[in-house]
Amino acid sequence: MRALRAVARRIGAGLLVLWVAATAAYLALLAAPGDTVDNIIGDGADTPDIRAEIIAQWGLDRPAVVQYVDYLVRLVNGDLGRSYLLQRPVSDVIGEQLLPTLALAVAAAGLGVLLALVIAVATAGNRRPWLRRLSSGTELLLVSTPSFLIGLLLLSVLSFRFRFFPVSGDQGAGALVLPAVTLALPIAGLLAQVLRDGLDRAIDQPFVLTARSRGVRERGVLLRHALRHALLPAVSLAGWVFGIVIGGTVIVEQVFGRPGLGQVILSAVANQDMPVVLAVVTLSAAGYVVVNTAADLAYLLVDPRLRRS
């Protein structure tokens, strides 16, 4: 019963976040300069008749509150509306471009986490001080370098100079490597620092001394004991990783000329294509809610002390 109530509260909070995000995006676009009718017409013919027709077709003459409520009702029913610019359902526009972006995001996040784990485990403790200094310096550099710069560097060396990877486009897995690495490096940099810090703190604990007194190898001590403790603070960064990945794909897709949501988002914002922007914001918020809920569940998985019988 208590567990059910906790889950219900969690879902309720998630819905609240979604509503706030959708509303904030709506208000922001409403306040933005420019006229909706102008945006819909774009470069097309502009006559009072056409204007009247557009206003009637999109229901733009209704009061703002009615439009807002209408938007919410449609959103609840899964209808993301029609793009002003492309004259197609938003769900189609996003659906087409979602896959390459998702592939990039998952590859980048996965690679980042994996790199961070390897680096942290290899450099935790004080076994190889030189390696530790080298890696924490590199991490700092990666965290503080903008991702487009990392991308351009990788491109100029690995694609233009040595031609290991394609320069742009989305042909096969090879084209995914550089964009994914570009996005993964800053993630790995920060996560590695957090993980190593957690590992260092864990190996000072008495239970690690106990484990060593059993004759366990140093690798076993780190992987079986210390790592789970180090994961706890890292799990809470899941939301941050999601944000970096979403924000990063927009830039990285531009740098590498990849198809994906980045292109859609940029043109939608530039042209005030309201339905598309609103959809992207709402979907991102939904992603955040899902990721954070998953992180909360992961806590329970890692730390049995948080589970209540």
Binding site: F207, G215, H229
Partner: protein, 547 residues
Amino acid sequence: MAPLVTVEDLHVDFDTPTGRVAAVRGISFTVDRGECVAVVGESGSGKSVTARTLVGLAGPGARIRAARLDLAGEDVRTHRARDWRRVRGRLAGLVLQDALVSLDPLRTVGAEVGEVLTTHGIVGRRERAGRVAHLLDLVHLPEPERRARQYPHQLSGGLRQRALIASAIAGEPALLIADEPTTALDVTVQAQILRLLAERRAAGVSLLLISHDLAVVAQVADRVLVMRDGRVVENGPTDRLLRAPEHPYTRQLLAAVPSASSRGRRLAATPPVAGARVALPARVEVRPADRVLDARGLTKRYGEHTVVRDVTFSVGRGETLGLVGESGSGKSTVARIVAGLLDPEAGTVSFEGTPWSAVRERTRRPMRRRLQLISQDPLSSFDPRYTVGQVIGENLDPDVDRRDRRPHVVDLLRRVGLGPDLLDRHPRQLSGGQRQRVAIARAIAPRPSLIICDEPVSALDVSVQAQVLDLLAELRAADGTALLFISHDLGVVHHLSDRVLVMHDGTVVEQGPVGDVFTHPRHDYTRSLLDALPTLVAAGRPQEERP
């Protein structure tokens, strides 16, 4: 047959940023097969480092030199990481203090115990669960199969410590090293763990027992080594060492143990001969009828759990009331209610004749200065950014003139035996004993009529504990302050209290003059507490009565 452990002229130094620190300075000892040797000393004596050196875990930056360091016939001085891994768990098992942090909190008890079996390839995967259950059964953990699937936090302190011992003996090592294995435990649980260790020894395992508590090691050890500043000051059979200690430090340690026979006498002064003690100053008359504190029918619930049930007692002017009980007995909850920090569900507290419970904090505030608190961990009760002078000065009478405050604080420091040089230091730069003295200085600053002392000496070494208890006794004699003295240590309570209150499961099971209750206990629980108490009598000190 050669001894199991031979240590000759062992030195352990640590390289620190401020230079080399010598932790162990040339000690020698042996442990025979099936023998129990205890190393006794206070914090910083080098006893734990000695124990850990035997399994190659002295720590990073440790430099070890020895003329001989033999473990089961092997010279371990030249051991490398791989050789040590073979030794650990298989030749020597290590049991640390407080299994809540010494067992991995994120892994099940079974996984922790089974780790030794897997690491040394002792049993196959399929037999593992069965062997773990067998080991848990060996240490008398009830329902071993179910316990193996539980996590350390789901077990009580005593059961956790048993599980930790099971993990240390899983590889059937010939040597079991136990570093303060009972320190955080209640006395009845402590007695069970000591019995368990004795049982392992009867099964042929050699024991190296590290402890700060002479009474604890007296129960099981054949021989005792007394360590101080990295050296062994005395080494001999337990009986002889306790009955006729030769070194002044051993005598000082023995004299520092509070008990029935130490009542009214100083603990910290080194006696010229064993057993003799120096008297404390005479106290002002205790007037039990003049009640400083009156608590009636106190009851406190958390959810459905009643932690304090119908507790009634009073503290007279200048009187010291001891409150004993094990963890979970509700004694700290009573302290918080009496301190006015927690409201009882039922019952009333009156302090200095005025209602103290169920009144608004505004009503209580002017009286707060008359009731002070000393806790087990003074450091966390100090503002970390305050200096010692500010910590104490904060509690001075607000009427004290600004210019007079500093001399007042210096005077209070002098009363608790500290110099004015500490005024501008921060509490974290002080030793445990100095911190507790600062806490006492702060408590006596407003000249309270009652001080609640919640386990004030539990975290201190025995010689420091002796000094703090002497100090409390002196201040009580000089100021006529009443004390509500809460402790799990019956010896401490017997030494200091006039009357005693025994709590168990939230209720008062017995109360009365301390001599009556402790010599003629009427309640079974009090009796079991006294029976479980490790005393120096057991090892043959006829001149000491049981506390």
